[in-house]
Subunit: 397 residues, 2 copies
Amino acid sequence: MAEANLTIIRDSTARAREADSPRSPVVHFGSDRPLRLDAGVELSPFQIAYQTYGKLDANRANAVMVCHALTGDQHVANVHPVTGKPGWWETMVGPGRPIDTDRYFVISANVIGSCMGTSGPSSTNPATGKPWGLAFPVVTVRDMVNAQAMLLDHLGIESLFAVAGGSLGGMQVLQWTASYPQRVFAALPIATGTRHSAQNIAFHEVGRQAVMADPEWRGGRYLLEHTNPRRGLAVARMGAHITYLSDAALHRKFGRKFQDRSNPTFSFDADFEVESYLRHQGSSFVERFDANSYLYLTRAMDYFDLAADYGGVLARAFKDTPTRFCVISFTSDWLFPTSESRAIVHALNAGGARVSFAEITTDKGHDAFLLDEPELFAIVRGFLDAAGKARGLNGKP
Amino acid sequence: MAEANLTIIRDSTARAREADSPRSPVVHFGSDRPLRLDAGVELSPFQIAYQTYGKLDANRANAVMVCHALTGDQHVANVHPVTGKPGWWETMVGPGRPIDTDRYFVISANVIGSCMGTSGPSSTNPATGKPWGLAFPVVTVRDMVNAQAMLLDHLGIESLFAVAGGSLGGMQVLQWTASYPQRVFAALPIATGTRHSAQNIAFHEVGRQAVMADPEWRGGRYLLEHTNPRRGLAVARMGAHITYLSDAALHRKFGRKFQDRSNPTFSFDADFEVESYLRHQGSSFVERFDANSYLYLTRAMDYFDLAADYGGVLARAFKDTPTRFCVISFTSDWLFPTSESRAIVHALNAGGARVSFAEITTDKGHDAFLLDEPELFAIVRGFLDAAGKARGLNGKP
């Protein structure tokens, strides 16, 4: 952690430097340790940027992997080096928090394909000395998890006490339990599903088309050509952001309230507060995220279909799993509705797994997993406490 | 009707000509008959393009106004002059159809702000001889209805037997009954609401931003500068199209099926059928619709708030209404969910109005009003039959 001496940078050139030289620990994997991708190619050399919080105990038994969502990163519980904002899960992870860094050793790695220091399309391609762009191979959720497993090997951690995450992070949690059942004692897949629905793929495709429609995208070569498809990426983010909330939350927060006035302007200005809010979401996002990474990570989510890797039978993905699960969904999440979580629970039940399930009542939509949800905190804390006792963790590391 | 000798044109220049010289009847309103707009300005001169089907009876009592939705037009039941496709409501309107042109005289007018022959941003501004572009005043649903009332005056029709429409068309139906209660005997608002929700405004704003982000939009001056913001408009249409369907319908039609292959390509091609379908929706739309009209008509929907014009009390909009209503919603419509229709029904009940209400079970989403829905057809037919008896219509005109 380098919280104290972080300098906040806000322009996208500086943000792009973060891709190669992140302000967090980095592991370089040389040509002797390639990452074998689902696309059938090897990524080598490559690097993983990560953060850790807390201390690993003497038995190396208290490690918790936190997996981030689409536009998240390894900066779970420290000031973000680009935005200067708090870590994205500071309400969940930290001293005395549900994922308690006084008790657990928390690891979070930027996923393969992202843009905060782990190899991705905005990283420098070592073969050419130039940004990868679309020459970077298309990656999958399994590739992300395999890379994290290599990071664990590097850190000398054989097995995780727990793995937790929401949305794309939850997909990684599920993939962890399927790919490495012996390495995961407890799993917390939150607001997620085992496959992306047609509607979710459709929304992602609109976002990708918005990026690719921007002439500044330049076929993905914008870093080389010193352009930036910020308008296209902003539109993509605005559209996606609607899907992270709920109709009820938008109504409660904004309704039909006008921005700074009491009557319509009869123009295309942001008359309504909700328009102004969305425009802000779009413009602030482009300062911190890479457009090509947005394409790669949405694609990875679309491709995710855990059952497909097991002959279409989801229960086989979890067959004889030793992992104990806590599956959590939110009533107003229409991106990953509760029915998706129930499908996970049914598949786990079919395999006789230890599983508890909670549907949390909230109007905050999909983003509820990132927000101040006391019931979520209580459930995560309680589940980890019980799992810690079963694991023989003794409170303090 | 000029069905037989329509030549199909497919390029956008030819489509743009349709704005001034449509291949349907046109009424020109000179400077003596301005349209007073909610924006506080007068539109003058202006024109309305329309179609009619069937014959007006001797009492001029059998006229039915069909109001079109956002991207619809006056070509309800004839081959479309630009796309060559059947009219958008041929399943509903025609000889022997629920809105039976053997019995009723059907009128449909292109709305103010659209692009198929009624004055809008792609029309020639008579003051400059050049396309209006963003100099065209922002219009409202009430403006659309007031223009239609002027068309009725021109046609010598004092009162409508019925007015029917879905979505934006349904908003016009509601506005008709509020603005001209004495001129509407029966009203059929379908898949609509009395105001646009925050979420709906948000989706529209994303679409507008997609159009305006396209450098070929040129601040709305693309017709003058011979460009065309087709990519931005296609993205807008793709996003909107998702909201017209339902999660269940997308799952049933496409699921996670790959397009023309059995495995992913690990690229950004349209791997999934749903991607390919959406791209087609986007690219075909730009051939037939004007980007600025898309801005104007989405804005009109966002501004619509019928209760706001009556002190926030919806029931006052329908106070002492002589009109009989049939309100129809669809179970899977998440753009205008049944709760919106129930709010209309409650307001009508509060005023003691004659109202029947049907919620039709379907997985087809908002677009169900345009599709083959036998229950919808039966309800419309039955309601109009009963209203016709009450009106004293005697079958054949």
